[in-house]
Symmetry: C2
Subunit: 474 residues, 2 copies
């Protein structure tokens, strides 16, 4: 029989391959700018290079790293490229990567306070820090009746908020009505479906010229639903919609929610982070009316996915919606009532030590360092906006409040789609389109950690070139 040490890596080997892996990442991040942003492989191309069956005997780590380069890397779309302007940014940084690494090395579970008190307490603490850092309402702090928790994503945050809302409503599930704007993120519609509410009881409220939810339309809709014998339950507003970065009018919407006793959730997934800077805190005006709120440090705050900061005004309501206590999880700390068990704040039982990376990021950059990137990205986007405005063939769509610029070629959908396809297949930039007013619209989302002015200039130059060439061919 082979002795065990032939299977586990020895500490010396772990050190050796650990260093190599660190080098691999350092090299990758130094060179990512030169790689095609959007992977250019065809469906099935990666799988075709992988062996049909798993190896019977272990292989060397050297072989594994070789195959990473040979097989996997051509199939990577480089979200960390400074030329990535698609979707929303997904922040990573050196301290965040090392925080993830330590979390992986500790390999603990944070489902209960007792299963690693530091995992729970650091999370509570750092989420309290963020309340101050973003000047969020005090009722989101753990010293109040509310508090914060890390969710894997804004999808889960809006779902658990909806579950608390459903619990609060205490009415037949078939009668519950939820309200979002036509511009809200698809995950909220998905959440409504998951929570078992009727799809036909989801209201897509119309928006104004800036793609922000209309309070009048909302109020009318609620009145009609009440007349029809339905129970308004949940209103989700957005600070920075996915398509166009629209900021819903939180004060007006919040007042309506309060009037009708509707749970008011505010989703600031990407844009919330802008409130690190006092000059952008206007985006959160009215947030004191919110029952729950989330923003994603994993988007624009240099923190690896997954890391959504989610806050509730009344943690009891959330826990009531999510708590089940079996015998095998009972423990002295929980019974003392003195601790938080975060399993009662989320969908799953298990949870990773995610606050570590967030703590590392905040400490490494300091508030000042984090503000620097927000200001830089917004300034770049505003500059880009001027370029679009002054170009004869392009038009601005909406009024970019922060770091996302929506624009389109005046030549119509086909030309715009052709421009995007051509840009993305060039490998030099990656942009994702959307539709606004039923028209194909280009989105320039500026928020990657390493994006510099030169990247934005180069992207704009390329956009203009591609547009000319597409014009010439139509």
């Amino acid at each position: 029989m082979i002795p065990e040490q032939d299977y586990h890596m020895s500490p010396e080997e772990f050190r050796r391959w650990g260093y190599k892996t660190i080098d691999w990442i350092a090299n990758y991040l130094e060179n990512v700018e030169n790689l095609p942003v959007l992977s250019q492989v065809e469906p099935g191309e990666i799988r075709a290079k992988l062996p049909e069956t798993a190896p019977q005997k272990g292989e060397s780590f050297e072989e594994i790293l070789k195959d990473l380069d040979r097989i996997i890397m051509p199939g990577i779309t480089h979200w960390q490229s400074p030329n990535f302007f698609a979707f929303f940014p997904t922040g990573i940084s050196a301290p965040s990567i090392l925080g993830e690494l330590i979390s992986a090395g500790l390999g603990i579970q944070g489902m209960l306070w007792a299963t690693s008190p530091a995992c729970t307490e650091l999370e509570t603490h750092v989420l309290d820090w963020l309340v101050d850092m973003l000047a969020l309402p005090e009722h989101f702090k753990s010293s109040s009746a509310g508090g914060g928790v890390i969710q894997d994503s804004a999808s889960s945050a809006s779902l658990v908020a909806l579950l608390a809302a459903r619990e609060q409503a205490k009415a037949d599930i078939n009668n519950l009505v939820t309200y979002i704007s036509t511009q809200a993120h698809s995950s909220i519609e998905k959440g409504v479906k998951i929570a078992g509410l009727r799809r036909e009881n989801l209201r897509l409220i119309e928006v104004d010229g800036n793609y922000a939810m209309s309070p009048d339309a909302l109020q009318q809709c609620i009145e009609a639903d009440i007349k029809a014998g339905l129970t308004p339950c949940y209103l989700a507003a957005t600070v920075g919609t996915t398509s166009s970065n629209a900021i819903d009018p939180i004060p007006e919407l919040g007042a309506i929610a309060q009037k009708y006793n509707i749970w008011f959730h505010v989703d600031g997934a990407m844009s919330g982070t802008a409130a690190l800077c006092p000059e952008f805190r206007w985006i959160h005006q009215g947030l004191e009316l919110a029952d729950s709120y989330c923003f994603n440090p994993h988007k624009w705050m240099l923190t690896n996915f997954d890391c959504t900061s989610f806050y509730v005004r009344d943690r009891t309501k959330l826990n009531q919606a999510l708590s089940i206590m079996p015998e095998y999880l009972k423990n002295q700390a929980t019974e003392s009532g003195k601790v938080i068990d975060y399993r009662d704040w989320q969908i799953s039982l298990g949870r990773r030590f995610r606050s570590l990376k967030l703590w590392f990021v905040i400490r490494h950059y300091g508030i000042e360092g984090l503000q620097h990137y927000i200001r830089k990205h917004i300034a770049l986007a505003q500059e880009f906006t001027e370029w679009v405005k002054s170009h004869p063939q392009f038009e601005l769509v909406g009024n970019p409040p922060l770091n996302l610029v929506c624009f389109r070629h005046k030549g119509g959908d086909e030309i715009n789609q052709a421009i995007v396809n051509s840009l993305n297949s060039s490998g030099k930039v990656y942009l994702t389109p959307t539709k606004l007013d039923q028209k194909v619209t280009l989105r320039m989302s500026i928020g990657q950690a390493t994006t510099e002015k030169s990247n934005v200039e180069q992207a704009w130059k390329l956009i203009c070139q591609v547009a000319e060439s597409v014009e010439a061919n139509t």
Copy 2:
């Protein structure tokens, strides 16, 4: 204005601190055996050491690592200690940690095939490998109408299975009935709550002397529900329950599910991994009747949390329950119909590159290496069983099929609770109790990567000593 390079870590600094972090983990894992397994801090003790507010200016990584040791480590319960016998194991290993590290360094999103084709294709491929490695039914392979996906946890797996079941039932949500045994994991009850089904329509089916679900009781219950005008919708069976590792009779339960057209989900969260070894594949007998199945490589297969392998027989049913397609996610690859977009297989939109660590683990250990640990843990548990049997003051509870031994002191609940408290506060081992037949029962869960015979022997010696001392004091 401070130039930007003063905020980001330079590649050289990243290398330097990356090596230090690798060393930190290597040292930790070499010494974890000597640390108190269950953290001994009091509620609030960790937070008290953290500064009230976030730093305005960035701090050195050296300071951060110092505070990790000084503030965080006393609040860690050491899940990677070879003396950790609580809950279920949570596997980590060197290749898995390095896989997580690379995933963090790449910082990609796997929500769509196009957002990184390799993330999707490697996941599909490795989950197909696992079908062969565990000899699971062929209908779980991606080449069939079904397929596999990584979920964050078995909680999410049983929830998405329930959502597919709810969709398939096409009946009023208030009439849908779900069936689990009294021994099923709490996450399934939580899932029923999340999915909006009525708590009073969740049936807890009674179990036999080995804590396995009774098919007769199930059948009677279904018949009664149908008579009452309700719609049976979802049956979740367990291969290795949390409390006692009971194996529900899958063939009989599956036949009943088929007869009544009920979605049949099988949860093999920890124990499923045993099927790596041909001699333990009997646990999955009847699995060809399952509509969905999951097991957690993050428990007993040396892979970092989160990593649940979830399979469905009919992926269309799952996707119908979870798919929403907004404009900003549309892309050429999706529209071609030739690719998998895993966002339609899970709750959230975003997803990490989790198959990387799984691929690293399988390649590093090979099937042979993974089998080695399963066999060792089961042999140790069976040996422990004999020690319990031959001790005059202890009795075995149930018949341990694999690596979890349930037992109790014959002196009653108070003595058993006192034994657990005393063991855990010693810091030398960590065990979590449960209740079986309404009696406090000790659980010896053997499955940590580095647990050796000496650790199990030492734990047993300590249990006997503590029992004697508790006996003497009562």
